[in-house]
Every structure is written in structure tokens, then in C-alpha cells.
Amino acid sequence: MFLHKDTLATMTEIKKEFIFSNDSLAMYPLLNEIISFLKIHLPSEQYAFKISNCKQILIELLTNAVKHSHADTTVISVCINGRAIEITKSDKGRKFYLNNYTSWPPLSWPLEKKYIGEKIKIYEDDISNLYAIIKSENRIVFEIEEYPITKVTSSSNLLEHYGLLIMAKFSNEFFYLYNPETNLNQFTTIINV
């Protein structure tokens, strides 16, 4: 289904799945394929900035798949509806690692009910903190806290791991969901349009 460039508000849901081989050499062709799909359904210039954000999110999801998933394949699903673009990365590889954070005992999935509502600091540096908020036994939401950037010097503490931070910053909602019955890991980003 092709849509007129300004008909997003009334459109029905469009969904497509893309298979990624978890090979870094396949990243760029797949990235271009997914971006082309988005541009076909959101052709208006008004969505160009949102599609640029989706592109960076996809780069990070694919990079994350290569580096951390420990799975043979990953499914990237893209869903466009009248309100948002939803991008989900699914695999049956390694669960999101939630161990060894300051003042926290080792955590494993599914999480204990007593931890629901707690906030775990994932990364910390001089300009931002990244938190995982425990929403349920199987779901965490990522949130950023930012600080003003003053002068950067050789003694500044700057982190060198930006993947999760980029996905949290480029989306309106970013969460991880673990399904203990299927062993499926899902990272989902929602970009409001």
C-alpha cells in the first residue's frame, strides 16, 4: 500500500520484518533497505528528521546484534501507524546483562517482583546518566538524565559506550522485554511522528 505524502494521520498500520544475519558486512545493505521502506511510506519532507533518527537507531540495533546478541539471526520489525514508528529488534540470544551495577545484588531474568519501580544506573559520566527502570518482572525502560556540559578537559569523565544512550535519546520510548516462555529478547524503540 502506498500513501499520499500527507496522509499519515489517517493511515492504518503497516508492518514489515527484516532478517539480519548478524554479520557486520550485511549492516549497510539492510540499513538502506529499511530506510527505503520508511521513505516509501513516509515520503513527505516533514518526516525526514524522524527518518534520520530511525537510521541512527537502526545502526545501533544492528551493531548491538553483532556485538552482544550471541545469536545467529536477528529480526528487525518496523511498524508505522498514525502516531509513531516502532522499531523492534528480536533474538533468542543472550539476555540483557543486568549484573554488577553499583549497590545492586546480581539480577537475573525474570526479575524479582520486589524490584519493580527501582532505578538501576547503567552508565554514568560527567554529562549524563543512563538508567534502567524496572517496570515489570520482564520489562525495563531506559531513561537518560543529562547535565550541562561545561569545559571538557583531560580530567573530564566521559564514557565510551554510547549505544543504549543513542537509542534512548533518539526515541520517545526505549525498552527491553524478555519473554521467559520463548526465551525471546526484544529491544523496542518508539519514535513519535
Partner: protein, 108 residues
């Protein structure tokens, strides 16, 4: 994977890769550390041939900046495409690195 050009007060380092990602991040970091160790602590990295940057490469770039600063140097960036510029702005790397649209005559 890099090409260097001596400029007035700085070394221009052009990335010779379309995909600045996890495949090239470590090599880029090693090459840049070597340049800094050779006395080139003031560096400008050109992204003119780069289509996209991932977090692995960005992490390497921040590591290089910290190393250059420890040697009283600095690292700036130039020729970012629209998407990379958007990345630097949104995660405020444009406040961490000096960002130039075109190569300046003198590093200021």
C-alpha cells in the same frame, strides 16, 4: 583506513571508510594513538567519505580525544553529513568536540 595531511597548526586525518563502525573502530583508535604518540596531538578528523557512524566508532573517537588532551592536544571534527551532524547534536558531542563545516586555515 586513514589519510593524513599536515595543515597550519594541526593534522587533518581523513577517514577512508564509508562505514565508521565496529569493524574499523579499533584500528582507527590504534592509528590515531600512534599519530598522537608521534607528536601530532592537535588533530582534525574529516568525515567527508563517511556515510554513517556507530556507537563503537564514537566511543573510539572519545577515547582518542581524552588521549590527545592528556598530551595537551585536541581533536575536532569536520565535514559531517546531515545524519552524523544530527547524531553529534542530539547526544551533545558537538559540545565535547569542536565541529567545523569546512576545514579551517588555522586550528582555533
Amino acid at each position: 583506513m586513514i589519510e593524513t595531511h599536515a595543515k597550519n597548526g594541526y593534522l587533518l586525518v581523513k577517514i577512508k571508510a564509508k562505514e565508521a563502525n565496529l569493524d574499523v573502530a579499533d584500528l582507527f583508535k590504534t592509528k590515531m594513538y600512534e599519530l598522537i604518540d608521534q607528536g601530532n596531538a592537535t588533530l582534525m578528523v574529516s568525515f567527508s567519505e563517511v556515510a554513517y557512524v556507530d556507537s563503537s566508532f564514537l566511543g573510539a573517537l572519545v577515547s582518542i580525544l581524552k588521549y590527545a588532551m592528556s598530551k595537551q592536544g585536541d581533536v575536532s571534527v569536520v565535514d559531517l553529513n546531515k545524519d552524523i551532524n544530527n547524531l553529534f547534536s542530539l547526544i551533545r558531542m558537538n559540545k565535547v568536540f569542536k565541529v567545523y563545516n569546512t576545514e579551517p586555515d588555522v586550528f582555533a
